[in-house]
Amino acid sequence: MSTPPPRRHYVGSFLGWTERMRVFRTDEALEVDSSDRYEIRRRRVFFDEVLLATLHRQWGGGPYPWSFASLALLAGLLSLAFASEPTALGITLGIAGFLALLALAGFLVPSWIVTVYGKRARARIRIRLREAKARTLYGEICRAAAEAQRALAERQSPPVVEVPLPPAAPEDYSA
C-alpha cells in the first residue's frame, strides 16, 4: 500500500517575539500555524480570497539578532566578575565576542518577507538572504491566487445560453 501524498507542503516560517508562524501550502490555501509553544492555532488564507501580496526587504529583522546581542552583553558583564582570573576572563570575553559577531551578522543579513493578506487572515514568511527563493515563492503565490480567482469567477459567471436563431426568412415572401 503506497502512502498518500502529503496534504500540505511547508513553505516557510516567521518567527516573532511571542509566537512562531509556520506556513504550509495546500491546493486551495496557505495554512498558517501560529504557535505560542503550547497550542497551535490554524488559520487559512484561501487563494480565492487573497486581497494583496507583498514582498519587502528588512534588515536585522526578527528576535535572533536582539537575543544574541543581549546574551553578548550578559557575557560581557559576566566577564567583569572574572577580572582577576585571566583564563575565565578570556573564556567569557571569547563567548561575548562570538555572540556579538552572531548579533552583528543578524543585523546585517537582509531578510525578504512575503506577506499575503486574505479576507480573514494573513500569512507572513521570512526568508533570510535568499532573494531568488523569496521572489519565486512570491510569484508562485501570486500565480496561484490569480488562477483560483479566475476559476471562481468562471464558475460564478452565468452559463452561456444558446439562443436558437429564428428560421431563415424565405427568399420569396410572396410565395
Partner: protein, 183 residues
C-alpha cells in the same frame, strides 16, 4: 500606517511611511455567490425527496455519516465527505475532521520549552527529562499524523536536552551516593 490596497498598483512600490521599496500585487477576488436551492415546487411531482430540515427544499445528497437527506443549503462538503450540519458539528468537536481543526496541542513547542527550562531546573531532571522525552515522542507522532515535513531538528534537540537532564541527575545522584559511601 496601514496600507490601502486600493491605492496600490502591481509591481515596484514606495512605502508612504518609510520610503522603502517593496513589491505588491493587489487582487480583486470575486464575491462568492449564494448557491441556488431547488425547491420541491420547482422540482415537480417526480422531483422527489424533501430535505430533512427544510421540507420545502429538494434533497440533493445523503449525509455520509447518518444518511439523512439534505438540500444544498445543508450539505457541507469536507475532507471528501458530504455531511449534514449535525454530523459536521459532532465530528469537528471530536477533532475527527482534519480540515476543521483550528486548535492543536503543540507537542514540539512544549518539548523544546520543557527541554530548555528543565536544563535550568536540573534538580528536577528526573521528572523533566522523561517528560521532555514523552513530549518529543508525541511531537514525532503528531508530525507524522499531520503529514508535515521539517521540524525534525528541533525534536532531536529536545530529545538531546532530555538526555542531558537525565545524565546530569544521574551524575548528581551517583556523586551523592558515592559521597555518602565515603563518609
Amino acid at each position: 500606517m496601514a496600507l490601502d490596497a486600493s491605492i496600490l498598483d502591481t509591481g515596484e512600490q514606495k512605502c508612504p511611511s518609510c520610503s522603502g521599496t517593496f513589491w505588491a500585487t493587489p487582487f480583486a477576488p470575486p464575491e462568492p455567490r449564494a448557491e441556488a436551492v431547488a425547491s420541491i415546487l420547482e422540482a415537480g411531482p417526480e422531483g422527489g425527496v424533501p430535505c430533512a430540515r427544510h421540507a420545502g427544499n429538494v434533497a440533493v445528497a445523503n449525509c455520509s455519516r447518518c444518511g439523512v437527506f439534505m438540500c444544498s443549503l445543508c450539505r457541507i462538503g469536507i475532507d471528501g465527505l458530504e455531511l449534514c450540519p449535525t454530523c459536521f458539528d459532532r465530528l469537528s468537536s471530536e477533532g475527527a475532521l482534519a480540515s476543521a481543526q483550528t486548535r492543536i496541542r503543540d507537542y514540539r513547542g512544549m518539548a523544546i520549552t520543557l527541554g530548555v527550562v528543565g536544563c535550568f531546573m536540573y534538580i528536577f531532571g528526573f521528572i523533566t527529562g522523561p517528560a521532555t522525552f514523552y513530549l518529543a515522542w508525541r511531537g514525532f507522532r503528531q508530525r507524522r499524523e499531520l503529514g508535515d515535513r521539517g521540524g525534525v531538528l528541533s525534536l532531536l534537540v529536545a530529545v538531546a536536552l532530555g538526555v542531558l537532564q537525565i545524565v546530569v541527575v544521574g551524575v548528581l545522584i551517583f556523586a551523592m551516593v558515592s559521597g555518602i559511601g565515603e563518609t
